[in-house]
């Protein structure tokens, strides 16, 4: 079974090729079977491989499919590497990916770009699988760029709306900034260690580099740059809220469950490098803490249902970064896993709401959906509970682990995480209370069919009980040193559990019972300004607009007729001029031809005698 590892990314790729080449000729039914089926086969293979892998005591397994390129001392194979970490990612990508594909078959059924949609989705899944299975950084980078491409194509899926194209470009450019840093990191690692095979690279780095030296710090920082871009962390987070322009299943799959967590995976995968660079690791924690707070605040005031979820995604990935930064590697991956379940669930449930409301995104135009859409309501409840990390949900286990680890590292980080948890509690239930309680504002025209309901049910189950699915990652990560602290019943633990519940209660007071009015609060001068500030994502877009976009546009307007082009135009102009001059010698007159021969002979004799 393990030998079939190469097929896992290959089958969705084949699905992509079929849909791209024959998508126009196929019926919708066949398209959905190819699109979702290829991911289903992949998921099935992954499951079978997973059983064998777990049976074999999780011995890392390497599978070389073939050689990609061999140049001098650089040899890059199509090599896949399976250990507990990539196995976890494999489950997430194929499992959640499959459920979202099934949901999409229902969600997109009236869309004219049905085949195109599934083609892109399959391409994305294939690239994501390459990313998580790659045994060398070049192949990982291929997957990394592949998912970036998939993301770009799917954000701009409805391309006839110019804003969507803008959002797609924004996502591509912003992540590209990180990608460039990552590519530089790869170059640095290769020039220093002469290999890009991840495992040998890491062991070489550990044996050759001293902790805190310049090289590990530089390379870890560059890799972090890539991770920050892909995972939408400060300061490159601004693309993710706009990325919600894509169809909702895309947001669920790419911008919640899988691609945006690639940065977390990258850091976890190369964690020995970060252990050699304590300052960078601290930077990871700080970035995570700041991001979770910044994004959480923005989520508090958004009115667009998908933007709320987008900011919450940024915030939750902030938690994962925080965990990575404090060395709680497995907690980070655990939160990645549970987050994939509950955030996919939330997005898909949001998609059901949106599709029932003629693509209405404003939560204040919804309301009272509790009765009309019970399944969606309960999905949302479970998802939000897990998001807020209420006890007994999957999110509770993972986030709790992170916060306790953060406390061990630094009480400040813990306090920030705690505040974030409080905010999470507020905005999660604000969303629920506004959308599902109160008076029903509109009649529900269309209820989600079984294609959309079944994935919701399954994901709800995973969001509740997914906490039990944790694959032990001890074989991959070093065990945290201070396991001695038992937080089970002490004050820290209690406060950690309590904070989201307090957030929930605040939401109840504001949005359910109406004891306090958010409206009245934000009417005040300072609070109103703050609300605007949060709503705009802390003004980061405006900042980049002023600092980078406008100067760049000014520069490029100045250079509208490219200076460099001038060179080529000049060459063409020069050559044409020469041609005209040379043509003038072709008079067609024999006397001139004869004379020129004589001159020519004199000329070459002169050269011969004078040189």
């Amino acid at each position: 079974m393990l030998g079939l590892l190469g097929w896992v990314p290959l089958i969705p790729l084949m699905g992509f090729l079929i849909l791209v080449m024959a998508g126009d000729q196929l019926s919708r039914l066949i398209i959905s079977w190819v699109g979702a089926g290829s991911v289903a086969v992949s998921a099935l293979l992954a499951t079978l491989i997973g059983f064998e892998f777990l049976d074999g005591d999780m011995q890392p397994y390497r599978h070389i499919v073939g050689s990609w390129m061999t140049i001098d001392d650089l040899s890059v194979p199509f090599g896949f590497y399976l250990d507990a970490l990539s196995m976890t990612m494999l489950f997430v990508v194929t499992g959640v990916g499959f459920l979202i594909h099934v949901y999409s078959a229902g969600f997109m059924e009236d869309d004219p770009g049905y085949a195109r949609f599934f083609a892109y989705m399959n391409l994305f899944v294939s690239a994501m699988l390459v990313l998580v299975l790659a045994d060398n950084l070049v192949l990982l980078y291929l997957g990394w760029e592949g998912v970036g491409l998939g993301s770009y194509l799917l954000i701009g899926f409805w391309y006839d709306e110019p804003n969507n194209g803008y959002a797609a470009r924004k996502a591509f450019v912003m992540t590209r900034i990180g990608d460039t840093a990552m590519a530089l990191g790869l170059f640095l690692l290769f020039t220093q260690l002469h290999t890009l095979d991840i495992q040998s690279l890491l062991s070489l780095a550990s044996s050759q580099w001293a902790p805190g030296a310049v090289l590990p710090v530089a390379s870890a920082a560059l890799l972090l740059g890539g991770a920050v871009g892909k995972s939408a962390q400060l300061p490159l987070q601004t693309w993710l809220p706009d990325a919600m322009a894509g169809p909702t299943p895309v947001s669920a799959l790419i911008h919640a469950a899988t691609m945006v967590t690639a940065g977390v995976y990258l850091i976890a995968r190369t964690h020995p490098l970060f252990l050699l660079a304590p300052t960078v690791q601290l930077a990871v924690a700080v970035i995570g803490a700041l991001t979770l707070l910044v994004a959480g605040c923005s989520a508090l005031v958004q009115t667009d249902i998908k933007r709320i979820l987008a900011y919450s995604t940024i915030s939750q990935i902030g938690y994962m970064f925080l965990a990575l930064g404090v060395g709680a590697w497995s907690a980070a991956i655990f939160h990645l896993l549970t987050h994939a379940f509950f955030k996919a669930l939330l997005f898909l449930a949001a998609g059901s709401v949106i599709s029932c409301f003629h693509h209405e995104h404003n939560i204040f135009k919804m309301g009272g959906l509790r009765k009309a859409m019970p399944l969606t309501f309960w999905s949302f409840m479970i998802g939000s509970a897990a998001l807020a990390a209420l006890p007994l949900t999957s999110g509770y286990y993972s986030k709790h682990e992170i916060l306790l680890a953060a406390f061990d590292a630094s009480p400040v980080l813990w306090a920030v995480g705690l505040l974030g948890a409080l905010i999470t509690g507020i905005y999660s239930f604000r969303l629920i209370f506004v959308v599902f309680f109160g008076a029903q504002s509109q009649t529900v025209e269309k209820k989600p069919g079984w294609l959309m309901s079944v994935p919701l049910l399954l994901l709800a189950g995973l969001a509740l009980f997914g906490g039990m699915l944790q694959i032990p990652l001890n074989s991959v990560f070093p065990v945290l040193i201070d396991q001695g602290n038992d937080h089970t019943f002490n004050l820290v633990s209690v406060i950690t559990v309590a904070s989201p519940i307090i957030g929930l209660l605040i939401a109840v007071l504001f949005y359910l019972t109406g004891t306090f009015s958010a409206q009245r609060l934000s009417d005040g001068g300072l609070a109103g300004t703050l609300r605007q500030f949060f709503l705009s994502g802390w003004g980061m877009d405006a900042l980049y607009e002023t600092l980078l976009v406008r100067p760049f546009i000014t520069l490029s307007t100045m250079n509208k007729n490219d200076v460099v082009d001038g060179l080529y135009v000049g060459v063409a102009w020069l050559v044409r001029g020469l041609h005209r001059m040379a043509s003038a010698t072709q008079t067609g007159r024999v006397r001139w031809y004869g004379a020129s021969m004589v001159f020519g002979a004199v000329f070459i004799i002169a050269i011969g005698l004078l040189s």
């Binding site: 050559v575 044409r576 020469l578 041609h579 040379a582 043509s583 010698t585 072709q586 067609g588 024999v590 001139w592 031809y593 004869g594 020129s596 021969m597 004589v598 001159f599 020519g600 002979a601 000329f603 070459i604 004799i605 050269i607 011969g608 005698l609 040189s611």
Partner: protein, 483 residues
């Protein structure tokens, strides 16, 4: 002269015999097909006679001719090309008014001159061969006597050729005056024994270079080229561009190697200037040309310049590699140029010569195979991989780089860049599809022999482009004998 020497001369004798046979055939019965058939048979026989000469190689036949492996190989090349041109001539002239049989005769005498030229080891044979070739070409270029353009081309060629012959003879006279020798090896000994450079001999060699430079249409002796290329009938232009130039270049190479003139550094300077001017001048002149025949004429100037780069490299690298590079390039150039002018000749009708580029507009839609062939030939001229032209260009670069001729290589690169522009432009024009030009597929059965020849040439072009090893090893084995 003994039997062995006669055997060594058999190919040349056969060609001569073929010319006489065609003459007699015309006298007995004036029939174009008959004359062409006899000529084709003669050329084929002559190729068979190469087999007779092969065991004798190398054979010095009298003072005048040296028939070594290389001479026989190049003769074979000339004969094959002559046969291809004969095929084009047949299709081109068979339906034209006038008595066209003598054209075949002239073609054979021109071929005879060329074969003598590549085997000559003496100024007398050199001059005889060159004049036999040239005089036949005057008549060939002006064969459609009642048309203005061919006649103009012929007269121009005749007059200017006379000037170049004067240079040649003057050069030979200067060398003879100093050395008392007319044979190449004798001149070589004389030069080798000179303690200091002999200025008069140098001047003589430069005059010979000027004379040959005219035949090769090197700048600044190139002005005749476009007028003659344009005016002469397309198959004859193919002959001038390939057989005539190739034979002269091979002679130049043999002359230089056997007289060891590479020792004269000033000569290399002269050649460097000529090569530089030819590469840049030819390409610049071709750039905006709208007549395909003129464009090919200018491009041939540039190609001779490229060839010179490999030739000049002989000043510092082993002659083996130079001969290999030059010969491969010539083979590729022969195939490509014959093919290109073959397409032009197939497209020409008795009323119009297919010169203007408008003639080629939308050709892909009317005659896809022909347009494809032409595209292939143009790509090979541009030196695009998969064609023989690429390997040839590669040889030029290799020998130029080995000889450290960086300035000339820069010119080759610039020239190749310019070349792409005007070669691809024709391909673009051929693929344009305008409603007005969409005619129903033209009758193409009229030129069966030409089409078959073009098909063979295309296959060879690709074959030598993909698998050059075989040809290279043949060239290597024959070029070892040159000294």
């Amino acid at each position: 002269m003994n039997a062995d020497q006669l055997a060594a001369l058999a190919p040349i004798i056969t060609i001569t015999g073929a010319a006489i046979a065609v003459m007699l055939a015309i006298a007995i019965r004036r029939n174009f097909l008959l004359a062409s058939g006899v000529a084709a048979g003669g050329i084929l026989l002559s190729m068979l006679a190469l087999g007779l000469a092969w065991p004798q190689s190398p054979a010095q036949v009298t003072l005048l001719m040296l028939l070594d492996d290389y001479a026989l190989f190049t003769m074979a090349l000339l004969l094959v090309t002559g046969l291809a041109v004969l095929g084009f001539c047949y299709d081109y002239f068979k339906d034209r008014e006038g008595e066209n049989e003598e054209l075949i005769l002239l073609l054979l005498t021109a071929l005879l001159g060329a074969t003598v030229l590549v085997a000559s080891s003496h100024f007398a044979a050199f001059f005889l061969g060159l004049e036999t070739l040239s005089i036949s070409l005057f008549a060939l270029a002006g064969y459609p006597i009642n048309r203005a353009r061919p006649l103009e081309a012929a007269i121009k060629y005749l007059i200017l050729s006379g000037v170049s012959s004067a240079f040649l003879l003057m050069g030979m006279a200067l060398i003879y005056a100093q050395s008392g020798e007319l044979g190449f090896s004798g001149i070589g000994h004389f030069i080798a024994n000179q303690p200091v450079m002999n200025t008069v001999v140098l001047g003589g060699v430069i005059l010979i270079v000027a004379g040959l430079g005219f035949k090769l249409s090197l700048v600044p002796f190139h002005l005749w080229t476009p007028d003659v290329y344009e005016g002469a009938p397309a198959p004859i232009t193919a002959f001038i561009a390939t057989v005539s130039k190739g034979a002269v270049f091979i002679l130049l190479l043999r002359f230089f190697i056997s007289t060891d003139s590479y020792g004269y550094n000033p000569l290399l300077s002269v050649f460097s200037v000529i090569a530089m001017l030819s590469i840049l001048g030819g390409n610049v002149l071709a750039l905006l040309q709208t007549n395909v025949k003129r464009m090919l004429a200018y491009s041939s100037i540039a190609h001779m310049g490229y060839l010179l780069v490999a030739f000049i490299a002989g000043g510092s690298i082993a002659p083996g590699l130079v001969i290999e590079a030059v010969t491969f390039y010539i083979v590729a150039y022969f195939i490509t140029t014959t093919g290109a002018f073959g397409v032009v000749s197939v497209l020409s009708t008795p009323q119009t010569e297919a010169g203007d580029i408008g003639f080629y507009r939308g050709l892909f839609w009317r005659r896809p195979l022909l347009a494809g062939t032409f595209t292939l030939m143009l790509l090979s001229l541009a030196g695009i991989p998969v064609t023989a032209g690429f390997i040839g260009k590669f040889y030029i670069f290799t020998s130029g780089a080995d000889g450290r001729l960086w300035g000339l290589l820069a010119a080759v690169i610039a020239g190749s860049g310019l070349g792409l522009y005007y070669y691809i432009k024709i391909v673009v024009v051929m693929s344009m599809n305008e409603e007005a030009t969409v005619r129903k597929a033209e009758e193409s059965s009229g030129a069966r022999i030409s089409s078959a020849t073009l098909a063979v040439l295309s296959l060879l072009l690709i074959w030598f482009g993909l698998f050059p090893d075989h040809l290279v090893s043949i060239i290597q084995s024959v070029s070892n004998t040159v000294r």
